[in-house]
């Protein structure tokens, strides 16, 4: 009887402990249930550029198919591809094509071939403050601004009198160094060999970058044209070389490839998608999914909408039997990405 009473009183303390034990159990359970559990979850991870697109897809798809829920994570193309290689996601979004090394790694890790779908195109717009008098710029000038040992550091060198910018200094806004946008900009603007000049302000997201430019009269930056905010920033017309016509980034110019900095947007699945994932991918490539691409501010892939049945059969002109990075099969993606085009 002496022993019983204190035990009763200690139950208040034992309760949290019991809960803790429950959590540990759940932890172990969680470990086992980590791999893909059921058909009701489609995990999407990857490109920061496409994160809003992926979110919009997930939201709309959930409305149409309430039983499917899709966690969307950003982080960058590299993250999505890495997660795909480790078999941790169902759909990886990427604003660059997978590298050979990564494909080999995925094959080795999972025994499956990553399958590529081009879901749209994005034009990388060059943004400046809305009051900046500059209207157009050449790729070469951009290279001199952003590239290592570049010679252009002030606005007067570009021939404009940027009145709001007191020092005249060009403030370079860039993205974090492992984002797909950063890599693609380097590829197109700086070329394969040249590195970025150190000291650019690296922003973690496209939207943040545009916001910063809208508040900084001296700034220049690059980001997907989907992030354009009228009245706050200005998109420059871009020409390949001096003397060539400068092209405005629009849906049309991105699609017919006259705008020099435009790129395909990819999603990857591990092997041929099946079940819910297959339906989801078909839906993305179908009219509804492609309408969302346009709504978010990117260019729908006309090829994709032509063959809404997608999946196994239509996928072949994008990837399947021609190797996973045979983006060349898609005319729209033809020479937009030298890396992809350079693949055998």
């Amino acid at each position: 009887m002496l022993g019983m009473k204190p035990f009763a009183r200690s139950s208040c303390l034992l309760l949290p402990m019991a809960l803790a034990v429950a959590v540990v159990t759940a932890t172990i359970a969680g470990c086992f249930s980590d791999s893909r559990r059921d058909d009701s979850t489609i995990r999407i991870t990857g490109s920061d550029t496409m994160v809003n697109l992926a979110q919009a897809w997930a939201e709309a798809y959930h409305e149409a198919h309430p039983d499917i829920s899709s966690p969307v994570r950003g982080g960058g193309s590299g993250v999505g591809i890495a997660a795909l290689i480790n078999g941790k996601v169902d759909v990886a979004t990427a604003s660059r094509a997978m590298k050979d090394k990564e494909i080999a790694l995925a094959r080795q890790n999972t025994g499956k071939e990553p399958k590529q779908f081009i879901v749209g195109r994005d034009a990388l717009a060059i943004y400046v403050h809305k009051d900046n008098p500059l209207d157009e710029i050449t790729i070469d000038a951009l290279a001199e601004i952003y590239g290592e040992d570049g010679t252009i550091t002030t606005w007067p060198q570009l021939g404009v009198d940027n009145a709001d910018c007191a020092g005249g200094e060009i403030i370079r806004i860039s993205r974090q160094n492992n984002s797909g946008t950063y890599a693609y900009f380097r590829e197109i603007v700086l070329g394969e060999k040249r590195e970025y000049k150190q000291g650019a302000t690296a922003q973690s997201g496209s939207s943040e970058l545009v916001t910063l430019i809208s508040r900084t009269p001296c700034a220049i930056g690059y980001s997907g044209m989907g992030y354009y905010r009228p009245g706050e920033v200005k998109m420059l017309r871009v020409s390949r070389k001096k003397g060539e016509p400068a092209i405005e980034p629009t849906l049309e110019t991105a699609l017919d490839n006259t705008y020099p900095i435009s790129r395909p947007l990819y999603i990857y699945t591990l092997g041929e998608p099946t079940g819910a994932v297959q339906e989801f991918v078909e839906w993305i490539l179908g009219p509804e999914g492609q309408k969302i691409v346009a709504d978010v501010g990117y260019v729908p892939n006309p090829k994709a909408t032509e063959t809404p049945s997608a999946g196994g059969d239509s996928g072949d002109n994008r990837s399947a039997d021609k190797g996973p990075v045979a983006a060349g099969a898609d005319p729209a993606a033809n020479d937009a990405s030298p890396r992809a085009a350079g693949q055998p």
Binding site: L13, P16, V51, N52
Partner: protein, 444 residues
């Protein structure tokens, strides 16, 4: 505050030029010493409430000037000096000298007026007569300068403190002002929708609850028991010192290093993946040291005599802890734990790579509205949501805003920030309130 500052009043006297009745200023001087004395009586005799009665070390000067606006007395020392001291002249009316001062102002005024009428105190222009009031137990000039220094020091330090409090008020006010248009109940209880340009913060809010709850579930038993160990069991030796040092260091580890640890230990090594569990465990390790030290403090505040009394009853150490020490300190422990809720809710870095998601579909009704996440999967969280709203979410176009289907991005950002701050401050206030309540009913 008679000792705060000795007042010094000046009345100017000059030959009258016109019929104007002066008020004693250099511009409008009074006509004669007598008139000035009447003015003094009127102002300081107690009639006017706005002017304080003359007190210790106050002084009234009557300065003679040649004409209005002429410069004041050239010499510092007065031509005539009279003294008032309530305690200095106990049994006589006094003569106004320092040795035999007048007992009060009225007597002094009468005395000076009489001298003036007798022509005993002629004042040439530039000379002045002064009437000083002295008081026993009033501040000496040295003391006054000391007080001045003290006041200056108080003001300086006060300003420093104010410069911390003012930004807090400004920030909170600004955030609230900017977020006001979106701050409705639906903002809190709706999920983000329409490409995250509309709706509210329910999904991230629930995610934060998940993370906080699970991390506390993990951290508080360990933390409380560790606190019990350190306060009740640990001997005063080198080993205990190392444990204490470990707690201090654990508290000082940067949050981003906790994130790296979470990636290395929970996400990869334990195989949890990027999940609610991994993020919660990372947060738990981060909040642990503060729970330990606040538990230790709460236990230490229970008097040793309580324990001794219990031991004398034959109770073992654990029985003492269970029946005496913990019940008497449980509320103090609770305060520390609650405080950690706010820290865990606000942290972003540790969950950045361990389990926060950009977006998740959360059903807007049913049980899954309240429990949308599974432990093995990632979740949205309020702090991370604010981060994505700032860096990644594109925002609505003006047309969408005009049509009413979306909200401006900036309002959503401010709204999210305010909900996060509101949550954290609410929890903090609860903790503070609990502490105040406890202190009021402490039994020892």
């Amino acid at each position: 505050m008679a000792e705060a500052k000795a007042a010094h009043y000046r009345y100017f006297v000059a030959p009258r030029e016109n019929g104007d009745r002066g008020d004693g200023t250099p511009q409008r001087p009074m006509a004669s010493v007598r008139e000035a004395l009447e003015g003094v009586a009127r102002r300081h005799g107690g009639a006017a409430p706005s002017v304080k009665k003359l007190g210790g070390y106050d002084r009234v000067d009557i300065c003679s000037i040649a004409r209005p606006n002429a410069p004041g007395p050239r010499r510092r020392a007065p031509r005539y000096e009279f003294h008032v001291d309530p305690l200095g002249a106990a049994d006589s009316l006094g003569t106004g000298t320092a040795q035999l001062p007048w007992p009060d102002l009225d007597t002094a005024l009468v005395g000076v007026t009489r001298l003036d009428e007798a022509g005993a105190i002629p004042l040439a222009p530039g000379e002045h007569l002064s009437l000083s009031v002295r008081e026993v137990f009033s501040a000496t000039p040295v003391d006054r300068s000391k007080r001045r220094h003290e006041l200056a020091a108080g003001i300086v330090f006060g300003m420093m403190t104010l410069s911390l409090v003012v930004p807090l008020v400004l920030i909170l006010g600004h955030l609230l002002f900017k977020a006001w248009p979106v701050l409705t109940a639906s903002f809190v209880f709706e999920n983000p929708h329409n490409k995250m340009t509309a709706g509210g913060v329910w999904a991230p809010l629930v995610g934060t609850f998940y993370l906080v709850f699970i991390s506390l579930l993990v951290a508080s038993p360990i933390g409380i028991l560790a606190g019990v160990y350190l306060n009740e069991y640990a001997k005063d030796n080198w080993f205990t010192r190392i444990v204490n040092l470990a707690v201090v260091n654990l508290a000082g580890v940067p949050s981003i290093v906790h994130a790296l640890f979470g990636v290395g230990a929970f996400v990869l090594f334990a195989g949890m993946g990027e999940s609610v569990l991994a993020a919660s465990c990372t947060l738990a390790i981060m909040t642990l040291p503060v729970i330990i030290s606040s538990t230790k403090e709460a236990l230490a505040s229970v008097p040793v005599t309580f324990r001794e009394a219990c031991w004398n009853m034959g109770a073992s150490r654990w029985q003492t802890i269970r029946t005496i020490v913990l019940p008497n300190s449980i509320s103090g422990i609770l305060t520390g734990v609650i405080l950690q809720v706010s820290r865990a809710a606000g942290e972003t870095a540790p969950i950045l790579f361990t389990g926060a998601a950009f977006y998740l579909n959360v059903p807007s009704k049913g049980l899954r509205y309240f429990f949308p996440y599974s432990l093995g999967d990632s979740c949205m969280a309020l702090s991370y949501h604010l981060h994505t709203m700032l860096t990644q979410v594109k925002g609505a176009t003006p047309e969408q805003i005009a049509s009413g289907e979306s909200l401006p991005l900036e309002q959503l950002q401010y709204g999210t920030a305010v909900v996060l701050i509101g949550l954290v401050l609410l929890v903090n206030s609860a903790s503070i309130g609990l502490r105040v309540y406890l202190r009021s009913r402490k039994k020892w």
